[in-house]
Symmetry: C2
């Protein structure tokens, strides 16, 4: 068993198991939503695609934000804290970076899991269950490297305890260079965006930095049109 | 002034100054060759393209290797040690990863410099002279992340002493996690390939790990057909 890391979704690395990481905040929120009782999460890159799902399906809550602000007409934003109780069976989330990474991983992996720190133990357990090579796909920001996602990739790679590629070794060393996840997140561009948008959003940094507080393994089920459908494994 | 890092050439990051790194061994060898007295180096992705240059131009030495072995009919391999004295005014090198990274950088940067540890001081001096944003483009291996190139990116980013993107911060932290460049290179896939090919090639690891022993700044001049032409700035 070997672990590799794609620091950006465009990197064409393949493995039987893919784990997508968009820790601030899409994949943290997906984990929270499924743990809370949503049965399915549809991820779309575009806002209009999420709205279309709400008009097509019954019982859909719309979640997502752009530039730190809840999208006009949406029910919820993009904070895990807004997903502690389900409002309906289905959640449709608009998340550009996260959706792109999930779709990229689905093209190259037999199974795609959703990773965050919140579900670390469950995720590592699920990945090891198959005893097959793993690639950690960082969503990044607009196609570029994101420190927060790379940090989490390093934490997961270290926990998997198997052979590492050059990229996985670099991620492990990066993660080891921070005293805490919160330190890493605060230094990242995504974390600084939250900080610059006020104390309510800043509170998502320690929230997403909690480790193994949710026992859930979100898994990509398939495409529903242009939306990536996620359910608990 | 800000420094960014593209860990793979496919990452579309742009800046006025680009520095291409393929430290084991193409960019180390280019630095050595120009410092020794070759006036121009042509880099080609394909072996046949280098052979074609030799048939077209006067006074061309052919250099390059595949899988650790000198290419059939070529004058020299890919060790900096083979380039201590010029054999002709022009060197044509076949280097797949290095050429791809140079061409990728040239598409996005006004000026492209060639980086290694051998020319570290000269390179940092040249990059700071322009006082403009810099992107460090790692050649990687077959499009994938390479620990040795990322390490050197971290050393250069730290030395530039300017604002860092997430990727540059990660590279600096990666570099800081190793006691020496040789340690990093030995752990990398490229370094292990040299080690596995015998003591003669393994000797290139400490050779490429020397810092600031050559005062040369190789610069991309332009394309000559499909070959990237490099000369000392």
């Amino acid at each position: 068993m070997r672990v590799d890391v794609a620091f950006i979704p465009a990197e064409s690395v393949a493995a039987p198991t893919g784990i997508v990481i968009d820790v601030i905040r899409a994949t943290s929120t997906i984990c929270q939503a499924l743990a809370a009782g949503y049965t399915r999460v549809f991820c779309t890159a575009e806002v209009e695609e999420a709205r279309l799902l709400k008009s097509e399906l019954e019982g859909v809550t719309l979640g997502g934000e752009r530039l730190g602000v809840r999208i006009d007409g949406f029910d919820l934003g993009n904070s895990p804290d807004e997903y502690l109780e389900p409002r309906s069976p289905v959640l449709a989330m608009s998340t550009t970076n996260g959706t792109r990474a999930i779709v990229a991983a689905a093209e190259r992996c037999e199974r795609v899991l959703i990773g965050s720190l919140l579900n670390l133990d469950a995720l590592v357990g699920a990945a090891c269950l198959h005893d097959e090579d793993v690639v950690l796909v960082c969503a990044g920001v607009k196609g570029a490297f994101a420190l927060d996602d790379a940090y989490v990739a390093g934490v997961i790679a270290e926990r998997l305890g198997c052979e590492r590629t050059d990229a996985a070794e670099a991620a492990v060393r990066l993660a080891s260079s921070y005293a805490t996840a919160e330190d890493a997140f605060r230094q990242s561009r995504s974390g600084r965006n939250l900080i610059n948008n006020g104390p309510e959003l800043e509170a998502d940094i320690p929230r997403c930095a909690r480790s193994s507080v949710l026992y859930v393994v979100p898994r990509f089920v398939g495409m529903h049109g242009v939306a990536a459908e996620i359910a608990a494994a």
